[in-house]
Amino acid sequence: MSVSGRRVRAIFRKELREYRRTSSIVTAMVVFPLIFLIQPLVVTLILPASTSAQLSQQHLLLYMLAIPALVPAALAAYAVVGERQQGTLEPVLTTPIRRQEFLFGKALASLVPSVGISYVVYAFFLACVELFAQQAMASALLRGPDILAQLLFTPLIAGWSIWVGIAISARSNDPRVAQQLGLLASLPSVAVTSLIAFNGIHATLGLALSLAAALTVLDTLGWRISSATLDREWLISGERYR
C-alpha cells in the first residue's frame, strides 16, 4: 500500500491551521508542559547542594516525559470524533483519501507540536539548571544518557499516546468522553516514566533499548490497527449493518 504524501500533508496543514485558531487547544498545549516543568525546576533551584548526591541516583529529567504522553492525548482523542461532530468528516471521506493517510495526517499533526513543545520545555529546563542551579545540582541532573533518553523517548511515547487517542476517537460518539479516555489511557506511560525517574524502576541501558523497541513496534501497530478499525459506515451513519 502506498501512502500519498500530498494527502497526508493536506490533512496535516489543515489540522495545524485549526489548532492555531482554537484557543482551548493552545491553552491545553501550554498548561500541561508548565505543570510538569514547575516541579523539577523548583526541586533543582530550591534544594540545597547537599541533596545533589541523592539526585544523581535519580533521573529527574525523565519525569518530564509526562509532557509528550499527555499533551498529544487530548488532541488525538478529538481528531476523528471532533470532525464527526462538526459535520466535516463526510466531505473528507468522499475524497480519494485512504484511512491510513487520513489518520497518519492527524497523528502527525498531534505529534509535531507535542514533540516540539516538549523539546522547548526540556531546553528551557536545561538552560535554567545550567544558569541558575548550583554546580553540584547541575552536574547531578545534566547527564548525557538521560538527555539522550529524553530525546529518544519523547516521540515514541507521544506516538503511543496519539495512536491510543485516535483509536478511542474513531469509536467514540462524544468528543469530551473521548478526550477523557485518551488522557486516562496515557496515564500508564506517565506512571512508568515517573517510576523510572524516581528509581521505582531501575533504569538500565537494556531496559531503555527494550522499551524503545517495544514502543516502536506499538506505534507501528497502532497506526495499522487504528486504520483497520476506522469504519466509514459507522462514522457516517452511527450504525454498522452490511
Binding site: 500519498s4 500530498r6 494527502r7 500533508r9 493536506a10 490533512i11 496543514r13 489543515k14 491551521r17 485549526e18 485558531r21 482554537t22 462538526q86 459535520g87 466535516t88 468528516l89 463526510e90 466531505p91 473528507v92 471521506l93 468522499t94 475524497t95 480519494p96 483519501i97 485512504r98 466509514r232 459506515e233 457516517i236 451513519s237 450504525e239 449493518y241 452490511r242
Partner: protein
C-alpha cells in the same frame, strides 16, 4: 444500478432500486423525508455499503475494493456544507485540492471560486459567511476535482430564493459542460427546471422519467371548456369529436373533456361549440406540474400503507 437495497437492521432505507443515468445527464431524485435519498447518495458515494444489488458509478463497479477509484471520479456535496469554519475559503479549498491531488491547485481553486462567484471572498473565514455563501463554497469544493459525476444532496436547502436561483444557474452550467449530476431535492420546481429526468423514491422507486412523461403517464390530458350558460345538450355537442375520449360536467357551465391529443381535439371542440351556438368563455388545456405527480404518488403510498 440493479436491485440496489440498503437496510440498517430491520429498517429499510431503500429497496430494490434499479435505474440508469446517462453520461452528462442532470438526474433529479425526489422523495419525502426518510425516503432514502441521502442514504442513496452516501451509498453511491462509497460511504455506505449496499446490503444487496449492484451498481456502477462513473463506469466503475460499486464494490469495496473500487472505493478509492470511484471517489477519484466523483464529488459529493452533502446537505450540510461541512466546511472548516475556522479556516478561510481558500484554506478549505487548498485542503481538498490536496486530498484530490489536483494538478496546479492554485489555478483549480481560482477557477472553482470564479465558477461560484466567490473569487473576492477567498480570504474570508468560513465561519463568518452566510449559509448561502457556505453552500457556494461547498459547491466550489465539489468542483475542484473536475468530477465526472457530481452528487448534490439538497443543494438549495434553507437558501433564500435569490441564492437558490444562483445555485440553479451553477448547476445548469455544469450540466451544459457535460458533468453528470445526481441531484436530490425537495423542491419540485427545482427538479422540473433543472433535470432531464427525475425519479421519485419512497423507499422503493415509485416512478422514473422525464417530467413531461411522468405527467402524461399519471394524468390524462384534459381540455376544460367554459361557456357563458350551460349547454342544452352537451352530449350531442361533444359526441364523436376527433381525439375526444369522453367528457364530464364540472360546474354548471364547465366541461372537462378527456383528450388523447389536445392539438387535434381543441379545434374540433371549438368548431362544435360555435356550430351549437354556444357562448364560449374559454377552452384551456389542463397542466399538471411535477408537484402534482409527486403528490399523487405519495398520496397513493399513504393510502396503500397499513394504519
Amino acid at each position: 444500478m440493479h436491485g440496489l437495497s440498503k437496510r440498517f437492521g430491520d429498517r429499510v432505507a431503500f429497496q430494490d432500486v434499479s435505474f440508469d443515468i446517462g453520461y452528462g445527464e442532470v438526474f433529479g431524485f425526489l422523495g419525502p423525508n426518510g425516503a432514502g435519498k441521502t442514504t442513496m447518495v452516501r451509498t453511491l458515494g462509497t460511504l455506505l455499503s449496499p446490503t444487496s444489488g449492484s451498481a456502477t458509478v462513473a463506469g466503475v463497479p460499486l464494490v469495496p475494493e473500487n472505493g478509492m477509484e470511484i471517489r477519484r471520479r466523483i464529488a459529493v456535496m452533502p446537505e450540510s456544507s461541512g466546511l472548516y469554519l475556522r479556516l478561510s475559503v481558500a484554506e478549505n479549498l487548498e485542503c481538498f485540492a490536496g486530498l484530490y491531488e489536483a494538478p496546479d491547485p492554485t489555478d483549480r481553486i481560482d477557477r472553482a471560486l470564479r465558477a461560484v462567484n466567490l473569487a473576492d471572498r477567498a480570504h474570508d473565514v468560513c465561519g463568518t459567511l452566510s449559509k448561502g455563501l457556505r453552500q457556494r463554497v461547498a459547491l466550489a469544493r465539489a468542483l475542484l476535482s473536475d468530477p465526472e459525476v457530481l452528487f448534490l444532496d439538497e443543494p438549495t436547502s434553507g437558501l433564500d430564493p435569490a441564492v437558490a436561483r444562483d445555485v440553479h444557474e451553477l448547476i445548469a452550467a455544469l450540466g451544459r459542460r457535460g458533468v453528470t449530476i445526481f441531484l436530490t431535492t425537495h423542491r419540485l420546481e427545482e427538479a422540473e427546471r433543472l433535470c432531464d429526468r427525475v425519479a421519485i423514491l419512497n423507499t422503493t422507486l415509485r416512478t422514473i422519467g422525464r417530467p413531461d412523461e411522468l405527467r402524461e403517464r399519471l394524468f390524462a390530458k384534459t381540455l376544460t371548456v367554459k361557456t357563458l350558460v350551460p349547454l342544452a345538450e352537451p352530449g350531442d355537442v361533444f359526441a364523436g369529436l376527433p381525439a375526444v375520449d369522453g367528457w364530464r360536467q364540472g360546474d354548471p357551465a364547465t366541461y372537462v373533456l378527456a383528450a388523447s391529443d389536445a392539438a387535434v381535439a381543441a379545434p374540433a371542440v371549438t368548431r362544435a361549440l360555435v356550430e351549437a351556438g354556444a357562448d364560449v368563455l374559454s377552452i384551456s388545456q389542463s397542466h399538471h406540474s411535477l408537484e402534482d405527480v409527486y403528490l399523487e404518488l405519495i398520496d397513493q403510498d399513504e393510502q396503500g400503507s397499513p394504519g
